[in-house]
């Protein structure tokens, strides 16, 4: 009949930072754009609300992994654009490696037991 109506899944804590970093690594983006990219790239599985997104972005700012600047959006509205920093790229690599190790381990356990 249609697509299976899945409830949007809860993101594992800590992975949101990883995903945001990966998204802005490709280029500067504003908050709405990041949320949109997340939704489409995950085929509607991951939907993040503003009460999780913006605190996450602030956290990335606090740690110096992204910088933010006001600019003009596609439709000429004022928006804040986030860009990844060098430290952010390093962090991205580390978190990605950790994540893949974690996933690999979970997979192995599921397959062998």
């Amino acid at each position: 009949m249609g697509k299976h109506e899945h409830q949007p899944l809860e993101l594992l804590p800590g992975t949101l930072d990883l995903l945001i970093l990966k998204i802005v690594a490709r280029g500067a983006m504003h908050g709405y754009g990041i949320a949109l990219m997340l939704k489409t790239a995950s085929e509607d599985v991951l939907e993040v609300g503003e009460s999780s997104l913006y605190p996450a972005l602030q956290r990335l700012l606090l740690n110096g992994w992204v910088t933010a600047e006001w600019g003009a959006s596609e439709n000429n509205r004022r928006a804040r654009f986030y860009t990844i920093t060098a430290a952010g790229r390093k962090r991205l690599a580390v978190e990605r490696a950790d994540f893949e190790r974690m996933v690999g381990a979970i997979q192995r356990v599921l397959q062998t037991t």
Binding site: Y32, A35, L62, W70, R77, R78, A79
Partner: protein, 856 residues
């Protein structure tokens, strides 16, 4: 670290950051709307708060908010704030001042380099604790490996510098070096200046002395000053803040050996310096690197016995104890001081408790007034813990402000108190880190004490009823119980302090009327100071017998006599005493005095048997004993004519005189009297007259015989009053604290009465409409607190009786159940209640029944 700086930057621009975030999220929503998707994205406020929470620890921010709110509330109610600050500030100030004094005198170690390595050394044997002899000390200092340096010090007599008499301290040559004192000018002593038998006439003076008595002379080092008329060279000046090992003796130091220069004709000095078995000099030392106290103690015990062996003395097997230099660590503390200290601390703590109860009551009243605000906040979902925390933050701010006031008081008050108690000492007292920590602790505890209960009480869930508005929403009696309890506490504390003050005052009155066994009112004492450096034993004896003969001859003088030790002086003499003709009777120590024939008459004492001394007795072995001695040693017999060995000679008893109080006013002891020979020192003249004419005549009599004598005349009444001085101070202190307590409690009482009037305005209106008289209304208002007041009175009286039972031994004349004192305080309390209730009672009687009833 960088994260911290980023946080700081965020904090500084937090409003702008907040606005930017809001704008950003607004943009997000508008984009969502453009895309046709509903903005069901959750709680915006929560998002903003979470975002902020990333930068600023939320607890810190809410704490800051609480503090700002608290300050605003306090500013809006200046009456409450000032009253609370005043009560708390005074109470904390008194507390901190006392601790400052205690800290300076008892808790601080010597102000020397590395004080933890410096220890006092005490010796304990079967007979008790004792100090060391100087020859012994020098042996130990030389041979001990556990100490990098050992010092000895001995408090000396007062010496005259110009026209001032200063307390002198004798110290070993290495004193300043071992303690690591950096001299302000010049240097300390060196070992060569402290050689027994070859002393150097050198002196170190304090900064205060240099400034005040020597005029801050820039060339003071090398200058010669005369102590007791003996020239000494100043070699150094101690720094201005050096308060020395004994804060009451910090003016003048000379080497131990130099005592021979000051007392050349005193044979006991040489003995003190050189004999192996001399005693009574305290020593201390700086532990060598890596040496423990136990090791040092063991080594010294061995060395002491080796010294004794070398000097053909018996083995002692002493127990050597080293201790820190703070007074409180000393193993031989004076036991009498501790109860006084405890009593003082108890008193000021009580005042603090009272202030806390007072502020607590004020806070309860305020919480009651803010009932509606609190109810609204609770109903909107505010957490009770958060509210309680906010109230506590208010209390903490109050406590901190009061501590600041208290610390300010503690800068000035301790010095003022000490100046009153010991006016001729220079003591440097100032709050230090310990005092600060103590004050913070006191403030925190007070805050919890007065703030916690009202905070919990005022935020109870049942407060929802308050939303309906109107006074008396809850039964007045229930809410009043906590306030009544606090009131009772305040009354109890005030009563305790005031009753104790009253008991002390009555005790002093009783002590002043005491009959010490001699006539206090009409007698004077002339003390004779002979220049010690020029007076030898034989010359003193000559003077004494000449004086005795002169007094005997003068027919137109009122009764006068000589005494080595006049009554109520602070010295006591004792000597060995053993009965003859009774084998096995022990050798005791007994109080002794030297008197002439006119002594008993001069003091109004009675001769009970035998005769008084005559001048010829000075060459005979005779004794007079007092009645207590006669009853103790010859019970049931006539002591007259009996013999005893006193001071190593057999003497015969020729007279018995009445008992007197010797030095303190609490006990009668057995005393024996020798005829005045002057062998122990120059006597004082006791005369039965207060008139200046007589005193001048006697003074000129003495001066004729010895022009260089210094005569000081004082009435016995003055010495008597001086003995009572501690009691007088105590009563002043207790009285002031008690009045302070009562004042604070009265303000508290007034508050409670006003509250009751406010609570029961409607009820009062109804009663007045029904024709009640004003007096009935007043009785209604007071009646609500009668239980609290009565309870407080009962507890206060019980507490006072308990405390005074402790004081009985410390101060003379106190009778714990003195009716006059208790009734006086009850009257005072009733007066306070009357005053406190005046304004609220009037307001109660002025209630307009119509208006009160209309507020339905």
């Amino acid at each position: 670290m960088t994260r911290f700086f980023r946080r700081l930057q965020y904090w500084m621009h937090r409003d702008r950051m907040d606005a930017e975030l809001a704008e950003e999220m607004e943009f997000h929503r508008s984009m969502l709307a453009d895309d046709g998707r509903p903005a069901a994205m959750g709680n915006r406020t929560l998002a903003r708060e979470n975002a902020r929470g990333v930068w600023i620890w939320p607890w810190l921010e809410s704490l800051w908010q609480d503090a700002v709110y608290a300050l605003r509330t306090m500013r809006r109610q200046p009456g409450f704030t000032l009253t609370a600050l005043a009560a708390l500030g005074l109470a904390i100030g008194v507390n901190t001042s006392l601790f400052t004094i205690f800290n300076a005198i008892a808790l601080r170690p010597w102000p020397v380099a590395e004080p933890s390595r410096v220890v006092t050394i005490d010796r304990f044997t079967r007979e008790g604790g004792s100090d060391f002899g100087i020859a012994e000390y020098r042996y130990l200092a030389q041979n001990s490996k556990s100490f990098s340096g050992m010092i000895a010090m001995r408090n000396g007599e007062r010496v005259k510098l110009g026209d001032r008499a200063l307390p002198l301290t004798y110290v070993s040559g290495n004193y300043f070096a071992v303690l690591g004192i950096q001299m302000e000018r010049g240097r300390g002593f060196v070992a060569q200046e402290d050689v027994t038998g070859a002393p150097a006439a050198v002196v170190v003076i304090s900064h205060d002395l240099w400034e005040n008595l020597l005029g801050g002379d820039p060339r003071v080092v090398g200058r010669t000053i005369r102590l007791d008329d003996v020239p000494f060279t100043v070699v150094g000046v101690t720094p201005a803040d050096f308060i020395s090992a004994d804060p009451l003796r910090n003016l003048v130091w000379t080497p131990l050996a130099a005592r021979q220069l000051l007392r050349p004709n005193d044979p006991s000095v040489e003995k003190w310096l050189a004999a192996a078995d001399s005693c009574c000099t305290p020593i201390a030392g700086r532990l060598a690197r890596g040496v423990t106290r136990r090791a040092a103690q063991a080594e010294l015990a061995i060395l002491v016995d080796r010294f004794r062996e070398q000097n053909r003395m018996s083995r002692q097997n002493p127990r050597i104890v080293t201790a820190g230099t703070a007074w409180i660590e000393s193993p031989r503390k004076k036991r009498q001081v501790v109860p006084t200290m405890v009593a003082l601390f108890l008193a000021v703590t009580l005042v603090l408790l009272l202030a806390c109860a007072n502020v607590g009551n004020l806070l309860l009243a305020r919480a009651a007034a803010r009932r509606q605000e609190i109810a609204v906040r609770l109903s909107l979902g505010g957490s009770r813990m958060r509210l309680v925390r906010q109230l506590l933050v208010e209390c903490m701010l109050l406590a901190l402000a009061a501590s600041a006031l208290g610390l300010t008081m503690a800068m000035a008050l301790p010095a003022a108190i000490l100046e009153r108690l010991a006016p001729d000492q220079i003591i440097h007292i100032a709050p230090d880190r310990n005092v600060l920590i103590y004050t913070m602790a006191v403030a925190t505890l007070s805050c919890l004490a007065f703030g916690l209960a009202p905070a919990l009480h005022g935020t109870r869930a049942g407060i929802a009823g308050a939303l309906k508005g109107g006074a008396g929403a809850e039964g007045p009696t229930r809410r009043l119980s906590l306030r009544s309890a606090l009131l009772a506490v305040q009354v109890a504390i005030s009563v305790t302090l005031l009753v104790n003050a009253g008991l002390l005052v009555r005790g002093i009155q009783r002590a002043q009327r005491l009959d010490p066994g001699f006539d206090v009112r009409n007698t004077s004492v002339l003390s004779i100071d002979l220049p010690a450096s020029q007076y030898t034993g034989p010359r003193t004896k000559q003077l004494t017998s000449a004086l005795w003969a002169q007094l005997e001859r003068s027919r137109d003088l009122p009764a006068a006599g000589l005494a080595l030790n006049p009554p109520l002086s602070n010295a006591t003499y004792s000597t060995s005493f053993q009965l003859t003709g009774r084998p096995g009777s022990p050798r005791l120590h007994i109080y002794a005095n030297e008197i002439s024939g006119g002594y008993a008459d001069a003091l109004g004492m009675r001769l009970l048997a035998g005769r008084n001394f005559v001048p010829e007795d000075a060459g005979r072995d005779v004794l007079i004993v007092n009645q207590a001695a006669a009853k103790r040693f010859w019970p049931g017999e006539d002591a007259l004519g009996k013999t005893a060995v006193a001071n190593a000679r057999v003497r015969q008893i020729v007279g018995i005189i009445s008992d007197t109080y010797t030095n303190d006013l609490t006990e009668i002891e057995a005393v024996i009297y020798f005829p005045a020979t002057g062998s122990w020192g120059a006597p004082a003249v006791v005369v039965r007259d207060r008139g200046a004419a007589t005193l001048d005549r006697i003074a000129s009599l003495v001066k004729q015989m010895e022009p260089r004598a210094e005569i000081r005349a004082a009435t016995l009444a003055a010495s008597f009053d001086r003995k009572l001085q501690p009691s007088i101070y105590a009563s002043e202190l207790a009285g002031l604290l008690g009045l302070l307590a009562l004042a604070i409690a009265s303000v508290g009482m007034s508050g409670v009465f006003a509250y009751v009037v406010g609570q029961r305005t409607r009820e009062i209106g109804v009663r007045m409409a029904l024709g009640a008289q004003p007096s009935q209304i007043v009785r209604l208002v007071l009646g609500s607190s009668v239980h609290a007041l009565a309870g407080g009175l009962v507890f206060g009286v019980a507490g006072a009786a308990g405390i005074s039972a402790l004081l009985v031994n410390a101060l003379p004349g106190i009778h714990p159940l003195d009716v006059l004192a208790y009734s006086g305080v009850v009257l005072l309390l009733m007066a306070a209640v009357t005053v406190a209730s005046a304004v609220p009672a009037r307001r109660a009687t002025r209630v307009d029944p119509v208006r009160a009833l209309r507020w339905e």
